[in-house]
């Protein structure tokens, strides 16, 4: 419960943050624009697109396996993101924490075995 003014005051750090963000993003670009030497050629100005040609039809088909690998990556990346704080707080949780994490990992492993067996990892 706050009075109206006090309520807005809570948002002051956000305003400050937006100001700093604007400063940090605008100043280097402006400085580079004003001060840097320009010497551009085709390869340097083209966008970098991990392995694809940047100038082609956007409706190009790409292999579904790229997508599958990306999904797998995200799942196991998240697993790590859960495991780290769990490991840090492990002492306070005792058996309950261990069993919960084992359940979580076993669910992931079942999913992984399913994907493996279905041939999602075969690159042929």
């Amino acid at each position: 419960m706050h009075a109206p003014n006090e309520f807005l005051e809570n948002y002051f750090p956000i305003l400050l943050f937006m100001g700093v963000a604007a400063f940090v993003s605008v100043v280097p670009v402006t400085l580079a624009f004003l001060r840097a030497k320009r010497n551009s050629y085709a390869a340097k100005t083209s966008a970098y697109e991990c392995g694809f040609s940047p100038m082609s039809d956007t409706r190009q088909r790409f292999d579904i396996r790229f997508y599958l690998v990306a999904i797998l990556f995200v799942i196991f990346d998240l697993e790590i993101a859960f495991l780290l704080p769990w490991a840090v707080a492990f002492k306070g949780m005792e058996l309950y924490g261990l069993v919960s994490m084992l359940f979580f990992l076993s669910v992931l492993i079942i999913g992984f075995v399913y994907e493996w067996k279905k041939g999602a990892l075969d690159w042929e």
Binding site: V107, Y114, K117, K118
Partner: protein
């Protein structure tokens, strides 16, 4: 410990076992086997639950809370799922192997687990997680027919709209969390109660939060500003999935909304009564008016769903407990009607497909009473009930809503709702006119013969639903007393 959610846990564990059966070569036989096993699990759960409703009541860690209302919704969902599995068996019998894969049952069980967790959620976070589990399974089920452009279009539409709706829901939760500092229903209820008794500027934020949360949920039951999806999706998606969306999804949506209204938002009843009053009237108006112009049967059912959900919403607008009770009665009657109607429709589709005809547009029903007299009679009964013709259950459902509105001094809204539903009666009666008063397009038609297996898979569920809507008028108090009992 843990007993209140043992059904959900067993669904998930069974689903993991099923996952490994998807490696077997002969998926058709596996799917048939799994449909029987799943049916057995659901029937035994149903019998176990119906024995003693109050046995499973309890709270789990402040995240889930099982009440009598939750148990009765679970029973309703189990009944619907048993019928749905019987319909799946029917599709296998008619050599439609769209769902003949072990993964289908895995996803179906996940959908059930998500629905159960959603209705018993007692915290905005667990509600959101369960909602996503259910929605993800629904996206996959909608996209099951992956070589049909219409089905894919329906799936993508549902995916995009549902994601936006859950985003809106989360946004609303963030407002409430910002004011209250917690997401538990009980704590939110207590905090809102004390905040509302003090004068201050945060009331507006609470109202915005509540409106956003309810908007995200109202999407699931397709009330008017969020009503664009049912017609398109009903038309495009496989009919079995449409049946699922029209029944389970609606039960879950209405139960969750009732949970919220009697729980965290109880102190805000003046605000949400207005919310549901406006949405309900608009839904009845737009649903009835748009259905008039439709020629595709499923599309027309999509619009009729909107109108029916409008009645539930109007009933919620009418007062704290009586209105919500009557909304729940309406929900039960509606689900039984639409379930019986859809099982008949699936039977008709498969049987006519077998003799080389289709059942898609309203005029495909021309002379249907001569081709299939029994089926047309039952369809006509369900249509009369949906339109609200007196001796059938649909009439009583509407009657209770009107009584609630009149008691709450909202007579104008009751009159308007009735006027629109008279308009709505036209399109139900038009289908009956096609069936009974028109000649078949094809002059040398043949009458459909009795088929025992089709009878078991499709007709028995629809007969059960029909018995309910006919005999409801004799013992109306049974259901009313039951609903009063679960709401007390």
């Amino acid at each position: 410990m843990g007993a209140p959610i043992f059904a959900e846990v067993s669904f998930v564990i069974v689903a993991f076992v099923y996952l490994f059966l998807s490696f077997v070569r002969d998926q058709k036989r596996i799917a048939q086997l799994l449909s029987y096993i799943t049916l057995g699990i659901l029937v035994s759960l149903f019998l176990y639950f119906i024995g003693d409703l109050e046995r499973f009541i309890g709270n789990i860690g402040g995240f889930f809370n099982v009440t009598k209302l939750v148990m009765s919704s679970k029973l309703l969902i189990l009944f619907v799922s048993i019928v749905l599995l019987s319909l799946v068996g029917g599709t296998f019998f008619w050599k439609d192997y769209l769902f003949a894969r072990a993964e289908f049952f895995v996803i179906f069980l996940f959908m059930l687990a998500g629905s159960f967790l959603m209705i018993e959620a007692f915290d905005f976070l667990s509600l959101y997680l369960a909602m996503e589990l259910q929605a993800l399974s629904l996206y996959v089920l909608l996209a099951f027919k992956k070589d049909d452009p219409a089905a894919i279009e329906a799936a993508v539409k549902y995916f995009v709209l549902s994601s936006v709706a859950s985003g809106v829901f989360l946004y609303g939760v963030s407002f409430i969390y910002g004011v209250v500092g917690d997401t538990n229903f009980l704590l939110v209820y207590e905090a809102l109660n004390s905040i509302l008794s003090v004068e201050g500027s945060e009331k507006t934020i609470i109202y915005i939060g509540m409106a956003l949360v309810l908007s995200g949920l109202v999407f699931k039951i397709s009330l008017v500003p969020f009503h664009m999806w049912p017609p398109d999706i009903y038309q495009g998606a496989p009919i079995w999935v449409v049946t699922l969306l029209a029944t389970v999804s609606k039960i879950v949506g209405v139960t969750v909304i009732i949970n919220l209204l009697t729980g965290p938002f109880k102190a805000l009843s003046d605000q949400w009564e207005l919310f549901f009053l406006v949405l309900g009237l608009l839904s009845i108006a737009i649903g009835s008016l748009s259905a008039l112009a439709q020629n595709n049967l499923l599309r027309f059912l999509g619009f009729s769903t909107i109108a029916h959900m409008g009645f539930i919403s109007l009933s919620m607008a009418g007062g704290d407990y009586m209105g919500l009770e009557k909304a729940y009665v309406y929900l039960i009657i509606y689900v039984v009607m639409i379930l019986g109607f859809f099982s008949l429709l699936m039977e008709g589709k498969y049987r006519l497909k077998y003799i080389g005809k289709k059942l898609e547009n309203l005029d495909d029903f021309a002379g249907f009473s001569k081709i299939a007299p029994g089926m047309s009679f039952m369809l006509a009964l369900f249509l009369f009930s949906l339109a609200g013709i007196p001796p059938l259950a649909g009439f009583f459902a509407k009657l209770y809503v009107v009584i609630v509105l009149v008691r709450e001094n909202l007579t104008v809204y009751a009159v308007l709702a009735l006027l629109f539903s008279i308009l709505g009666a036209f399109y139900y009666l038009r289908l009956i006119k096609f069936m009974y008063f028109d000649e078949p397009k094809d002059k040398n038609f043949t009458c459909l013969e009795f088929d025992f297996k089709t009878f078991i898979f499709f007709r028995v569920p629809s007969l059960l639903c029909m018995l309910f809507i006919i005999f409801y008028a004799i013992w109306p108090n049974r259901l009313i007393n039951f609903v009063t009992f679960i709401f007390e």
